[in-house]
């Protein structure tokens, strides 16, 4: 018959082991091709780089977690209270303190170097010359998109000009804005970089596409134009608002279609030709 203290320590140990097994099951499930437990399949160029870093941190933190917990649980079992056993009288060890201050510091600063390098690469690198620019307007509760039209240029815009009859704040004096056209769907050609010009009409919204590994808040009163990405996978995605924006927030989304360049050109030509109303009127309601 075990003593009360040993029994409770065994129960505790059993629970910790159960938890470890449970998390192990989660980890194994991660290998499965279905996306039930893991990240949705990446669909952008920058996303691949971000995933590499995510996996790096995953293995690093996983190793740290397993190592510390194995040692910890070993201590908890080995040093449980037993008759006659007395605890070691120790106030610490400065050499150990230095060791476990120094090593984490080096790891964390190294990790910062890696992640910061990537941060500039993904977000701040100059966009390739063939980048397409798309205007995005977020409002309670939806998104509208504006394409550059035949001239391939969005033209100048200013948040101060945003109003009911000019929802993207286009500068009427800039001829490049004249042929812009609107869409309620974000249609994108595959493998072509796209830069989004983000504006909000009321509160803070967000531009979030998990498959592209992209998130950016859209702040009213400002134009945020540094977010760009390159879709690499054909298909339909959903653009979601991920910043609480009011009672309709849960359903604020828009369709993203990544199509071949040919399909895109066809769609683009039709839309540009059909754009009898210049961009800037009420949010487009249909595709």
């Amino acid at each position: 018959m075990l003593k009360q203290s040993s029994r409770t320590s065994l129960a505790f140990l059993a629970m910790v082991v159960l938890l470890l097994i449970a998390s192990g099951v989660c980890g194994r499930a991660a290998v499965r091709t279905s996306d039930l437990w893991w990240m949705p399949e990446v669909a952008s160029k920058g996303g691949v780089l971000i995933d590499k870093l995510t996996y790096f941190i995953y293995y690093l933190t996983g190793a740290v977690f397993v190592l510390t917990q194995v040692v910890y649980i070993y201590f908890l079992v080995k040093y449980r209270s037993r008759k006659g056993a007395k605890a070691t009288y120790s106030h610490g060890n400065n050499r150990l303190e230095l060791l476990w201050t120094g090593i984490p510091t080096a790891i964390f600063i190294g990790l910062w170097g890696y992640s910061n390098h990537l941060w500039w690469d993904v977000l701040h690198a100059p966009t390739p010359p063939d980048t397409m620019e798309v205007g995005v307007l977020a409002y309670q509760f939806g998104f509208s998109f504006q394409y550059p039209g035949a001239d391939g240029k969005l033209g100048q815009s200013d948040v101060k000009l945003i109003g009911n009859d000019n929802i993207f704040g286009n500068d009427p004096n800039d001829p490049a804005t004249k042929d812009n056209f609107q869409s309620s769907v974000l249609e994108l050609p595959i493998n072509k970089p796209v830069r989004v010009r983000l504006n909000s009409r009321d509160v803070i919204h967000a531009f979030y596409v998990p498959q592209f590994r992209v998130y950016q808040d859209i702040v009213p009163g400002r134009t945020i134009d540094w977010v760009w990405f390159t879709p690499t996978r054909l298909g339909s995605y959903q653009l979601a608002c991920n910043q609480l924006c009011g009672s309709g927030h849960y359903n604020m989304k828009a369709q993203i279609e990544v199509v071949t360049q040919e399909d895109f050109d066809k769609w683009y030509k039709e839309k540009a030709a059909a754009a009898v109303i210049p961009a800037g009127n009420a949010p487009a309601q249909s595709k």
């Binding site: 201590f75 120790s90 150990l96 339909s236 609480l244």
Partner: protein
């Protein structure tokens, strides 16, 4: 009664001690200036708010698992801002539920439980002082806290209900009634937080003064027990961070009601200003909610391992480092807010650096149990679980600190998992442990250990079942703060996980029942506690129960540091701080 240190307030306390027997019921239990009574007032009040916040969380989880399904039984009694006529939670009502869940838990549960309860109860007792430096302010602080809770919750009865723009209340959603639709609720939120801030500031000033000025003879700073160090550092954080929130809340109130435009996107206002002010408070706030728990847990682990704390000074310096660095990391909440990208890089660096002291503390806790003689009391189980849960919460923080990964998981359920591992698996487990540990000194009786273990086992298992899968949901791209995940294609396959989490959360909620029964039963019927049930070294275990107003019959003298356990050459395995070491024994300096 001899004088601790010449201090005008201390002598006042003693004179009031002289009139102890004449105190009316009102002065003894309602407007009490005795730090121990105030601590217990805080305890009951914040446990009540814990139930309120927990019920709000149940509402949140119900909606995520069963969106659009009428709430059984109580659905038809809920107000119309919360549910539809059929009794299903509305999207706007859902926003109100999680807004108030977080607000209540942060400002009315975790902060008062850690700082109000254990700050008040332990500081004078552990440093050998008769009471707090400013007993009147102490009482005022409690009543302001209660008032703030009433103000915050009163908007339940407003026609538009609770505030619904999140506990972070990002402007301009929060600052314009036409956007949030809850002018009264949002105004109550501002006023409630302002009043709550006054309570915190009064408390913090009191704690700092008390610890600096009223320590018993011989109680040098490096002989302070770690909970006192933790609470002192926390008090400094409160004093520097909370006024910023108070000012921001006042500005928000003006924007909302008087047409100013501090945070508006027009008229030269700046929405990001709110975020900077809020997080300048908000990140130190995170440490305000975890550092005291670290202090409490350190002591519980040391006592129950029968070992001195490993690296006492390293523990103190780590907490000081967390406190200082905590003020320059707020921007990591704003990597993708539209803030300058270079600033993000800077904040990412300081965030990586602040992880170091947390790592140091973890290693020192492991060093403390190494070579110990561990007694698995309920308090110890919670304290040991705290360490593991804090490790998970800390490691998951690294994902967000890496800016590119934050691009992906920002505002997803990953962060929800992270914060709950720190605040529930961390702070609240620490609080539970501390309640089991100091209950004998608070109420003079022991809590039941068997029921304590049952509470621990249930809380530990269902806590992990509830919050661990949230990491996976977050990696899957589940946004936080959406009322209905089934609206999104990529989340529909996740619904079984959401249902599993919700069922676990209900079980986690029910796991508080054995605790509450044990708590209230033991208060009246538990076995009488000896003066020092855990064979602990610190000064609070030298006073009898009921501890008189004024605490110590004679002011204790302190001879050595707080954690002299298992000193070689001694018969007993602990050496109380007020007893000099026998001549035959040499204490190792820490």
């Amino acid at each position: 009664m001899s004088q601790t240190i010449a201090h005008p307030e201390a002598s006042e306390v003693e004179s009031s001690h002289g009139h102890h027997a004449e105190l009316s019921f009102f002065r003894k239990y309602i407007w009490s200036e005795d730090h121990k009574t105030i601590a217990i007032q805080y305890l009951f009040t914040s446990l009540f708010f814990l139930l309120v916040g927990g019920l709000l969380a149940m509402g949140v989880r119900y909606q995520l698992a069963f969106p659009g399904v009428p709430v059984p039984i109580i659905g038809s009694f809920l107000p119309s801002w919360l549910v539809t006529s059929a009794g299903a939670i509305q999207p706007g009502g859902y926003n109100a539920l999680f807004t108030m869940h977080a607000t209540v838990m942060v400002f009315l549960v975790i902060m008062p439980l850690l700082i109000g309860v254990f700050g008040n109860f332990l500081i004078p007792l552990k440093i050998g002082a008769p009471d707090m430096a400013f007993p009147f302010f102490n009482a005022l602080s409690y009543w302001l806290f209660l008032l703030s809770g009433i103000i915050l919750l009163s908007s339940f009865f407003a026609p538009t209900g609770f505030p619904a723009s999140g506990w972070t209340s990002y402007a301009p959603l929060s600052s314009h009634a036409q956007y949030n639709g809850t002018q009264i609720g949002q105004s109550c939120w501002c006023v409630g937080l302002f009043v709550n801030g006054l309570a915190s500031i009064a408390g913090a000033a009191n704690y700092i003064t008390t610890v600096i000025n009223m320590r018993a003879p011989g109680m040098k700073m490096f002989r302070l027990p770690l909970p006192i160090w933790a609470l002192l550092i926390t008090a400094f954080l409160l004093l520097l961070a909370v006024p910023v929130l108070s000012a921001a809340a006042a500005m928000l109130f003006c924007d909302l009601n008087f047409g100013t435009s501090f945070f508006s996107s027009s008229n030269y206002g700046q929405p990001l200003l709110w975020q900077h002010l809020f997080w300048f408070f908000g990140h130190p706030e995170v440490y305000i909610m975890i550092v005291p728990a670290m202090g409490l847990v350190s002591e519980i682990i040391s006592v129950n391992s029968r070992k001195p704390i490993f690296g006492y000074k390293a523990m103190v310096f780590a907490m000081v480092a967390i406190g200082v660095l905590g003020f320059i990391v707020w921007g990591h909440h704003m990597f993708v807010s539209g803030m300058n990208l270079l600033l993000s890089a800077t904040f990412s660096f300081s965030t990586m650096v602040i992880a170091v002291p947390s790592a140091i503390k973890t290693f020192n806790w492991m060093g403390t149990v190494w070579g110990g003689s561990i007694k698995y009391t309920t308090a110890m189980c919670f304290a040991l679980a705290f360490v593991s849960m804090f490790v998970i919460g800390g490691l998951s923080g690294i994902y967000m600190a890496a800016t590119p990964v934050d691009l992906f998981i920002h505002h997803t359920y990953f962060i929800v998992a992270h914060i709950h591992y720190v605040l529930f698996g961390g702070s609240l487990f620490g609080v539970f442990g501390a309640i089991y540990f100091w209950f004998p000194k608070m109420f003079g009786r022991m809590m039941n250990e068997t029921w304590g273990k049952i509470h621990f086992a249930l809380a530990f298992i269902f806590f992990n079942c509830t919050f661990f899968p949230m990491h996976n949901l977050g990696l899957n791209g589940m946004m936080r703060r959406i009322a209905d995940p089934t609206q999104y294609e990529h989340l529909r396959s996740q619904q079984p996980v959401n249902i599993f989490i919700t069922l676990s959360a209900f079980a986690l909620g029910l796991s508080t029942i054995p605790f509450l029964i044990n708590f209230f039963y033991s208060m009246f019927k538990g076995p009488k506690a000896p003066i020092n049930p855990w064979k602990s070294t610190t000064l609070e275990w030298t006073v009898p129960w009921p501890t008189p107003h004024g605490n110590f019959e004679t002011t204790p003298t302190v001879y050595h540091g707080p954690y002299e356990y298992s000193v070689p050459g001694m018969e007993e395995d602990y050496l109380p701080q007020n007893q000099p070491a026998p001549d035959t024994v040499r204490l190792a300096a820490h």
